[in-house]
Subunit: 122 residues, 2 copies
DNA sequence: TCAATTGGTTTCTTAAAAGTAACTAGGTTT
DNA sequence: AAACCTAGTTACTTTTAAGAAACCAATTGA
C-alpha cells in the first residue's frame, strides 16, 4: 500500500475529485469514453436533462484539464466535436474502479438499511 | 476493461462519489486510515479549520455508510472514538489511487498551464 | 424574406453545501 | 460557587453549484 499521509496530501486527492465531481461530469465522461467523438448536440441528446450552460461549463473544465479535446470546424451552422484526449484515457481505470466500488456499495447499503434508498440520481 | 455504459450506470459512480466528496471527507478518511482510533477532539486538532458541525455531519454520513465506526463511552466528560470499519478499509485502495492520480495530474497541469494554480486547498 | 440550424453566452433565480456563533449536559476541578 | 471539560446541537448567514430562459451570429433552404 502506498504511504498515507493525511495532512498535506489531501490536496492531491481533491485535484482528482475536482475532475470528476459535479453533477454531470461522470456521465459526460462515460459517454465520451464509449464514443470516440461526439458533437455538442449529440451529448445534449444523450443527456437530455442537462442544460446547455452546464454542458458547456463542464466540457470546458474537462478541456482545461486536458481530459477532453475540443475540435471546432469552421462552418455554418457550427460543428464542434468532443473526444477524450490520450491523456484523458488515463482516467478510465479510476472511473471504472469507482463505479464498481459504488455498485458493490449499493448492495452493501441495501443489506444494512434495506431498500429504502431507491431514488434514481440521473 | 470492464464494460462501460454511460446511461444507467452513472448512478453507481455517484454512490462512490457521495462517500468521498464534501470538502472534508477525504482528509477525515486519511486521518482515520492512518490512526486506528481517533477521538472527536483529536480529529478537530488534526483538522483545525473544520467546524464541529461539519466534522459531526461528515462523520455521521460515513457512519451511515458503514465506513466509520462510532464508539461512545458512557462517561463525563464524554468520550467518543471513531475508527474505520473493516468494510471501510475496502475503500483505501480507491482513495490511494485517486490521490496518486491527482498527484500526477498536478504535475501534468503545471506542464500545461504553468505554476499559476498554486492556491492551497486545505 | 423568413424560419431553421448549431453551439454557444448572459442574466437571473433557486437549491444545496458550508460556515458562524451561541447554547447544552453533567460531572470534575479550583 | 464558579469555571472547565467533551461532544455535540440549533438557528441563522454566506457561499457555491445548478437550473431556467432569453438572446446571438452566419449561413442555408423554402
Amino acid at each position: 500500500m502506498a504511504n498515507l499521509t493525511a495532512g498535506e496530501n489531501c490536496g492531491e486527492l481533491q485535484v482528482a475529485l475536482d475532475i470528476i465531481v459535479g453533477k454531470w461530469k461522470p456521465i459526460i465522461l462515460f459517454h465520451l469514453m464509449e464514443n470516440e467523438k461526439l458533437r455538442f448536440s449529440e451529448l445534449q441528446r444523450a443527456i437530455p436533462e442537462i442544460t446547455k450552460k452546464m454542458l458547456t461549463s463542464q466540457l470546458r473544465e474537462l478541456e482545461y484539464n486536458d481530459i477532453v479535446h475540443r475540435e471546432v470546424y469552421q462552418q455554418v451552422p457550427p460543428k464542434v466535436e468532443y473526444s477524450m484526449t490520450e491523456y484523458g484515457h488515463g482516467l478510465t481505470p479510476l472511473l471504472v474502479s469507482m463505479r464498481s466500488w459504488g455498485t458493490e456499495h449499493l448492495a452493501h447499503l441495501e443489506e444494512l438499511h434495506g431498500k429504502d434508498n431507491e431514488e434514481p440520481r440521473c
